[in-house]
């Protein structure tokens, strides 16, 4: 590629941005190795009394670490369901015209436009009636409200970038729709699937209101467990910082796995 000249300016910009992005995270990690009094008493770039206590609390207290497991289960469920239903729909939107297609497409997104607080009471009633309260399914299904429309929109954008000649050639060559979709089309939109999967994971992972309302004990997510650190006796800053640091890790692993799909994408395909 012939883009060498502005290289230095861009690297400088990138480094400055990364610095800006990492500083608050550095501060959080820094806090997680301090004691509460260490955090509040004085300004220190590095912990004066380095301690693992906050992490030990989280890993030895069942109510803490089960939060991570619960979150991972419903987030995984939600991501898989979202992508499975969104893939064929996005294909339909990008390839065909049908009655009300544009309206349905925009309507899908309108479901993201309601503040989750609005849904609290209705969801509570709905899932109580169905007997799904305090299960992984309740949260996984509730989070479909904002993840499915997002997945459809992202995937449709990427699918529309694939030339339609590819579909036609495949059908002429005698491929059936499922076989064409799985063996030819999906590899072509890997970057889109990677991005969509990551965003579904991310939005479901950090959502607090719905997850907290629909669970009490058995499926209590980590984001809800964290609110425990705010109590009458004051904030437990150090444990919260440690828990926050740990919540980044699963997502970082997810993005590490999908990074190739995001970075390579269509340009490296066989077209």
């Amino acid at each position: 590629m012939n883009r060498k000249k502005p290289f230095r300016v861009r690297s400088l910009f990138l480094i400055l941005y990364l610095l800006f992005a990492m500083l608050p995270i550095y501060w959080m990690v820094n806090m997680s190795f301090k004691t509460n009094s260490g955090i509040l008493s004085s300004f220190a770039l590095l912990p004066r009394e380095f301690t693992w206590d906050n992490y030990i609390t989280i890993f030895t207290d069942r109510s803490w670490y089960s939060g991570y497991i619960n979150s991972l289960i419903y987030v995984a469920l939600n991501t898989v369901i979202s992508l499975t239903v969104a893939l064929p729909a996005a294909y339909a939107f990008s390839r065909y015209q049908f009655l009300g297609d544009k309206h349905v497409f925009f309507w899908l997104l309108t479901n993201r436009m309601t503040p989750p607080a609005v849904f609290l009471l209705p969801f509570f009633q709905l899932y109580s009636t169905l007997g799904l309260m305090d299960t992984y399914w309740a949260v996984a299904l509730a989070h479909l409200v904002f993840n499915v429309p997002l997945a459809v929109w992202i995937l449709e954008g990427f699918m529309s970038g694939v030339p339609r000649e590819i579909d036609e050639t495949a059908y002429i060559d005698g491929y059936s729709f499922p076989r064409f979709f799985l063996t030819i089309f999906l590899p072509l939109i890997k970057s889109g699937v990677g991005v969509a999967a990551f965003f579904c994971f991310m939005f479901s992972w950090v959502e607090l209101l719905l997850a907290r309302t629909l669970t009490s004990v058995n499926a209590k997510p980590i984001v809800a467990t964290m609110t425990r650190t705010v109590s009458a006796s004051g904030m437990d800053w150090a444990t919260l910082a440690a828990a926050g640091t740990l919540t980044i890790i699963p997502g970082a692993i997810v993005i590490w796995f999908v990074r190739h799909y995001i970075a390579k994408g269509f340009a490296m395909g066989r077209v």
Binding site: Y96, F106, G161, I255
Partner: protein, 297 residues
């Protein structure tokens, strides 16, 4: 690519049916409950009186709501004006291959993965002049900084926090869009002797149109519904400088437990977001098609 007309195929409905069922189950049914509440005065769980549009009229006349709405609009537009260009710039400067690309990708995405209440808490400490890195740095620069007592600074801190938190979303979308441009386009451009700017304007920008549209709409609606971060950071203060719409709604719905007005308010809230998204969407569609005419050889 030629201007290809999509074939009409009503059977495509079968492909989108699963999505419609999922969304109907988890959005339409609850939304109908809200509509139901908005026209009633819920006195007790078993007693409710039909009041028609009374709540809507009351909410529309609410002065506090008007100022919250203005604050919200100003905030959301500032968010768009900063995050979209910054995200695109960031995507353009991210390396595309090698371990550096992976490392940068992961580092950029980190801020998205922190639960929102933790984001607020971190910035709460981060901005304190006695024990926080940013507050301390500003203090050293002789700036009289306090997000807790100065309304302008509180507002700017919330904006900065949002930029820090959400620019990666724009950047990741734009980056994935950029990566999906076939090399052939760049080769053609270099044969034509196109400048960097021309490559950006006529190849990269039109190709990123789809993902940028998603990014703009997402950032608009999510910033319009921002709740947790400013609530944790400033609690809406000082005064009402950072009381945005959703916090006002929650005060009504949870604080005073007025189901009727709260439901009416959420419907109006929803319609406002819908209106703006509709305008943005159609505007971007139009701008996009004009680009297409110019962008394709």
């Amino acid at each position: 690519m030629s201007q290809y007309v999509k074939p009409v195929n009503q059977k495509a409905w079968w492909l989108i049916l699963p999505v419609c069922i999922c969304v109907a189950f988890s959005a339409v049914i609850p939304l109908m409950t809200v509509v139901n509440y908005s026209v009633q005065d819920v006195i007790s769980p078993t007693r409710a009186v039909f009041v028609g549009t009374e709540w809507f009229t009351a909410v529309m006349r609410d002065e506090e709501l008007h100022s919250a709405l203005l604050r919200q609009l100003l905030f959301s537009l500032s968010v768009l004006a900063i995050e979209i260009p910054l995200g695109v710039l960031l995507a353009l400067s991210m390396p595309s291959t090698g371990w550096k690309s992976s490392a940068v990708l992961v580092m950029v995405a980190l801020s998205l993965l922190i639960p929102w209440n933790v984001v607020g808490t971190i910035w709460q400490i981060f901005g304190r002049t006695d024990i926080g890195l940013m507050g301390r740095a500003l203090y050293m620069l002789d700036i009289d900084y306090s997000y807790a007592s100065n309304p302008t600074q509180a507002w700017l801190t919330v904006l900065l926090m949002d930029v820090w938190h959400w620019t990666p979303l724009v950047a990741l979308l734009a980056f994935a869009g950029l990566r999906s441009i076939p090399d052939a386009y760049y080769q053609a451009a270099s044969i034509d002797g196109a400048s960097r700017l021309a490559v950006f304007r006529y190849i990269q920008l039109p190709k990123m149109r789809g993902v940028l549209m998603i990014a703009v709409l997402l950032r608009f609606m999510d910033s319009f519904m921002i709740y947790t971060e400013p609530f944790v950071l400033t609690g809406g203060g000082p005064g009402d400088a950072t009381t945005f719409l959703s916090q006002y709604l929650t005060q009504k719905a949870v604080g005073q437990f007025d189901l009727g007005p709260a439901a009416a308010f959420s419907l109006i809230y929803f319609l406002i977001i819908l209106l703006f998204c509709f305008i943005l969407y159609n505007w971007m569609l139009r701008v996009g098609t004009q680009d297409k005419g110019a962008g394709h050889e």
